[in-house]
């Protein structure tokens, strides 16, 4: 269904609202503020993250560079995305940072998952031990959100299936070694969105009602409490906590935005997100994705990161596995590598890969079903599916599977596969089925590396793609090229290192290959 987003001005940030009894402050006052602002279509970065890699040779299309037609996806894991082929961008040839390897040649040797997850969106090394390692820098979502969100609000981080607060799962860090767990329950997200719904508009709320006066007064009291705290001499981090809370009260900065007319409870009902939802991952995933879509419609957040849990046993949507996703990624059904193959394991991995692809297609489809101005909501986003690893058993990070949907307001080329390594049309798609298949070759310890993509293939640093994404949504950098509030330059540097091998060093910040991938840009 196609919906039309009338860009009727409305105000946001009514200071929080409870489902039962909304806090509503002076609507007229805020409307006046809102109407004085220019209307800009927001650009959003929406990320979906899954663990443990995939069968790369089924996931990637045969074509590795050139126009992407729906037929190119036939027979691949990504076939569910075929209807959106003209809006897809597949950057090929990219390496994520801080790969674990036996000899430590490509990164730290902390743990094949902990270090990768911690470094993935930070491109900083991790500190700590095998299962508690945390990155020493901030992650992409926070770097983006502080510049593009209203009042610099934190990103929306959704852990589909519930919050897991362990280092093998955390992808979001608000600061070095400060994990940002995000939200695991739909109710919290939905309750927050009700603040923005159309019910709060002048048409449906009497601005001089007791409820409005009450809500405004309570917020005033909270603000007074916080201001009294601000008079106390505190550490910088404590002072920031207090001032960030003040910012959440919305009235101080005057930064308000228009809200789409279809940011309503009716839309929520239509998307099926109004009722508190629970259940297995198959049930909760569409719910959480629809909440992300509604958050985008309502412009509640411009940086939305979602992730699937690690180590989960698929038993829904017609899939019934005995082993968890980590175990099957290792082929042996356990967390150990080199255990040999459990029967039918490649098909199990394929089922998981397929399910993830279906869910990404669902997300893309939902975003593509709403109009926004002359285009679809999807077109004003970069909606990207990242995977933790390339092949799950070799744990390699080169040839990392990335699929983007949406041009982010025309910033990116779409309808293309772009090999950023050399533009070649014959890139190696990996060898994930080199063991455990019909040939029966076991996945023993000595052949793990040969199951991935050769280490010298597809090695362009993911940092550059992150620069693309930041620039696309409007993040600015300082003179040094690193994202910085108040900056005016394009972002050309991200993270601490862009060479995986440097992660096993004590070097200072070293970005050897700065700049974004120009070849991904439209009109460049």
């Amino acid at each position: 269904m196609t919906r039309n987003l009338n860009r009727r001005l409305f105000l946001r940030g009514l200071g929080g609202a409870a489902v039962a009894a909304p806090f509503l402050s002076s609507v007229h006052e805020r409307t006046a503020k809102a109407q004085s602002l220019p209307v800009d279509v927001p650009k959003r970065l929406i990320v979906l993250f899954s663990h443990y890699g995939c069968l790369t040779n089924r996931w990637f299309p045969a074509k590795t560079h050139g126009p992407l037609a729906s037929g190119d996806l036939d027979g691949t894991t990504l076939k569910h995305l075929a209807p959106y082929a003209s809006k897809l961008l597949m950057p090929r040839g990219i390496r994520a940072m801080n790969e674990w390897s036996f000899g430590g040649e490509l990164g730290q040797t902390t743990d094949p998952h902990t270090q990768v997850v911690g470094s993935y969106f930070t491109c900083y090394p991790v500190t700590g031990g095998k299962f508690d390692a945390m990155p020493t820098g901030r992650s992409l979502d926070h770097i983006a959100a502080e510049q593009v969100n209203l009042n610099g609000a934190a990103p929306l981080h959704i852990q589909i299936g519930g919050v897991r607060n362990d280092a093998q799962s955390n992808i979001s860090y608000s600061n070095a070694e400060e994990p940002f767990y995000g939200i695991g329950t739909p109710t919290s997200i939905f309750n927050n969105l009700t603040n923005l719904f159309d019910e709060g508009s002048p048409d449906t709320v009497t601005p001089d009602s007791y409820q409005v006066a009450r809500g405004k007064s309570i917020i005033d009291i909270v603000r007074d409490d916080l201001k009294s705290l601000q008079r106390i001499d505190m550490s910088q981090s404590d002072a920031k906590k207090v001032s960030d809370w003040v910012d959440l009260l919305h009235e101080t900065s005057g930064q308000v935005a228009p809200i789409a007319a279809q940011c309503t409870r009716a839309t929520a009902d239509e998307l099926g997100v109004s009722a508190a939802g629970q259940g297995n991952l198959g049930e909760v995933t569409p719910l959480m994705m629809n909440l992300a879509v509604l958050s985008a419609i309502c412009d509640a957040n411009r940086v939305i990161f979602m992730k699937f849990p690690g180590a989960i046993t698929f038993n829904w949507d017609g899939i019934s596995h005995q082993y968890d996703t980590h175990g099957i990624s290792h082929r042996g059904g356990t967390a150990n590598m080199g255990d040999g193959c459990v029967p039918d394991v490649l098909n199990m991995i394929a089922e998981v890969d397929d399910w993830y692809a279906q869910k990404f297609a669902f997300l893309v489809g939902q975003l593509n079903s709403f109009d926004e101005g002359d285009v679809k909501l999807l077109d004003n986003t970069a909606t990207v599916w990242f995977n933790e690893l390339s092949d799950g058993n070799s744990h390699n990070l080169n040839n990392i599977p990335i699929l983007q949907a949406g041009s982010c307001g025309g910033y990116f080329k779409v309808g293309e596969i772009i090999n950023v390594e050399d533009g070649g049309a014959s890139m190696n798609n990996g060898n994930s089925e080199g063991a455990c298949g019909d040939s029966g070759k076991d996945s023993d310890f000595g052949i793990l590396d040969s199951l991935g993509t050769p280490a010298n293939v597809a090695t362009q640093p993911i940092n550059k793609y992150f620069c693309n994404l930041l620039n696309a949504i409007g993040v600015k950098a300082g003179a040094d090229g690193f994202a910085a509030i108040g900056g005016t330059e394009p972002v050309s540097r991200f993270g601490k290192y862009d060479s995986s091998a440097d992660f096993n060093s004590d070097k200072p910040v070293t970005i050897g290959n700065p700049g974004e991938f120009a070849e991904l840009r439209a009109n460049v």
């Binding site: 609202a17 430590g104 031990g129 006066a213 309570i218 009294s228 550490s235 207090v242 290792h330």
Partner: protein, 552 residues
């Protein structure tokens, strides 16, 4: 089975994020390094540097504390729009600034709680007067605000809240009362535990006595001060360590309020949480028909009950490892060799053969959680004991050493198989020396915690092993009882235990100043007659309990 996998042996790892011990700042492991490093327990910081650590002045209540506070203040135990306690409306605990969703969730919870209180039988816990009568609102703001903020409100604050009584358009008396409750429950002074005292003592700042009272009540009860403690703060009776200890001892004796904290601590100590190993291991129903998913809840509840029993029975550190008390129900009884028919659905206190079943490490919860699907796992059990209990931090496996499959062979016991698996030199350094031996000692317990005289592979159980109880010292151990006795009597496990308590009490990863508190507590734990509850009292005696310093 491999030698642990790339992420399977998280038993015994700590959640340290800031030390360079063990994995090292860069995670580099150099072949030839000693396989373990002395961490001083828990893998945290070992060197005591006297002083008062810098701490946050504006910590937020934990969600579990939020629930206890609402229960104690208002009798509210559940949310309205979702199932479970009010904190189910909040986002999970996290550090750092509030987010819009987190802030909104506090507001939603406050609205629900306030509506519930005003409409329910606990209304009097908030309103001691008729809101239609003159002076009731101000009285309520002062009296309930005093409890909620853990200190008297300033006149400025009272005036601020009184604004809710004079809105235009005006609300009805009950509406105004409800609005006041909402406002108090979303106040930063309620949601956070601010420590703002400015009086100096040496180079540090003294907490106000109301702040000391809040530290006491949130440490010992996870909740707000009661009337006695509040009065002590109001009347200046919390100025000295002795006065603080007096109150602490009174509070600790309130078993109903302190026991949940004792349970919460021990869950932290042992890493019992959602997503950890505990209770997550399924077992082959063919091989272990006495174990099912129904076993998990009572076996984990048993541990809470066990630690409460030890603590409030005047027990000491050694009793945790040696007590013969167990708590069973009809589901778990057969795993202990007891008749299911003799028990109902509730846990019942029983006494087992203490020589056979000494302490919590011989209870079903540990033994079944730290096993494999259809076999025991000496590696998991041994790694947990070595690392988590003894505080010996094991280095990451050296390059290329991990994850070798069990070599082909005819093994008569699990011990033989595991020994073969871990015998290559790179594995042997940690496994044969530190990890495997305590696991082998527990091989007389099967994968679900039942006793086994014969190994399922057919051989006799060999439970004798040279167990390293410190990094340097091994001792030949022949029985689980002997192992538990050695752990219970050893200094290393006590220091580790003390460090977890300090971490729990301060809510932070122990720093160098905290290490001094840890050392003092560890020393006390070696004293005859020193009890678990004494630890709680002594945690309030550190200088850092009543002083603070400002960080950067």
């Amino acid at each position: 089975m491999g030698s642990g996998g790339d992420s399977s042996t998280n038993a015994g790892t700590n959640t340290n994020g800031n030390t360079t011990i063990g994995g090292g700042a860069t995670g580099v492991t150099t072949t030839g390094d000693p396989p373990v490093t002395t961490t001083g327990g828990g893998g945290f910081v070992s060197e005591c540097v006297p002083g008062i650590p810098a701490t946050t002045q504006v910590p937020r209540m934990k969600n579990r504390q939020y629930d206890r506070v609402l229960q104690d203040l208002l009798g509210v135990t559940s949310a309205t729009s979702v199932t479970g306690p009010p904190s189910n409306l909040l986002v999970p605990d996290f550090e750092g600034s509030l987010t819009d969703i987190a802030w909104n969730s506090y507001q939603v919870a406050a609205e629900e709680v306030a509506a519930q209180v005003m409409a329910g039988t606990n209304r009097a816990s908030f309103l001691a007067c008729d809101p239609a009568t003159a002076g009731c609102f101000e009285q309520t703001i002062r009296e309930f605000g005093r409890k909620a903020f853990r200190r008297p409100l300033t006149e400025e604050e009272v005036d601020s809240y009184m604004r809710l009584t004079a809105l235009d358009p005006p609300g009805m008396p009950d509406e105004i009362a409800e609005a006041i409750l909402v406002a108090l429950l979303v106040s930063p002074s309620f949601i956070m535990l601010p420590e703002l005292g400015q009086e100096s003592e040496g180079t540090s700042l003294k907490l106000t006595q109301h702040e000391v009272a809040a530290r006491l009540s949130f440490l010992l009860w996870d909740s707000v001060p009661d009337k006695d403690l509040s009065t002590a703060a109001d009347t200046g009776q919390l100025a000295t360590k002795e006065q603080i200890l007096l109150q602490a001892q009174r509070m600790i004796a309130d078993r109903a309020k302190t026991a949940p904290v004792v349970a919460a601590f021990h869950r932290t100590y042992l890493d019992i949480r959602e997503g950890s190993r505990w209770g997550a291991r399924e077992h082959s129903p063919e091989r272990f028909p006495k174990f099912s998913s129904a076993t998990v809840a009572p076996m984990l509840a048993e541990l809470d009950a066990f630690f409460e029993e030890v603590a409030f029975g005047g027990g000491s550190f050694s009793d945790m490892f040696l007590s013969n008390v167990a708590f069973v129900n009809q589901t778990t009884a057969p795993l202990y060799g007891l008749e299911a028919a003799d028990f109902g659905p509730d846990l019942t206190r029983v006494q087992l053969d203490g020589a056979q079943r000494p302490g919590f490490l011989t209870r079903v919860a540990f033994l079944s959680s730290y096993s494999s699907y259809d076999t025991t796992s000496p590696i998991l059990r041994g790694a947990f004991i070595t690392s988590r209990i003894l505080g010996i931090e094991l280095d990451d496996p050296p390059d290329g050493a991990i994850n070798t499959p069990i070599p082909a062979g005819n093994y008569a016991t699990q011990r033989e198989a595991i020994t073969a698996l871990t015998s290559p030199p790179a594995c042997a350094r940690c496994h044969l020396t530190y990890i495997n031996p305590p696991g082998f000692v527990l091989e007389s317990f099967d994968a679900v915690g039942g006793l086994q005289a014969l190994d399922p592979l057919g051989g006799a159980i060999d439970g004798t092993a040279d167990v390293y109880l410190t990094e340097e010292t091994a001792k030949t151990i022949t029985t689980p009882f002997e192992l538990m006795s050695e752990i219970a009597g050893g200094e290393q496990a006590k220091r580790n235990y003390a460090e977890y308590w300090v971490r729990f009490a301060t809510g932070r990863l122990p720093n160098a100043q905290d290490a001094c508190v840890t050392e003092a507590l560890a020393l006390k734990l070696t004293t005859d007659g020193y009890t678990i509850l004494d630890v709680l009292g002594d945690l309030t005696q550190a200088d850092s309990f009543r002083l603070r310093s400002v960080g950067n």
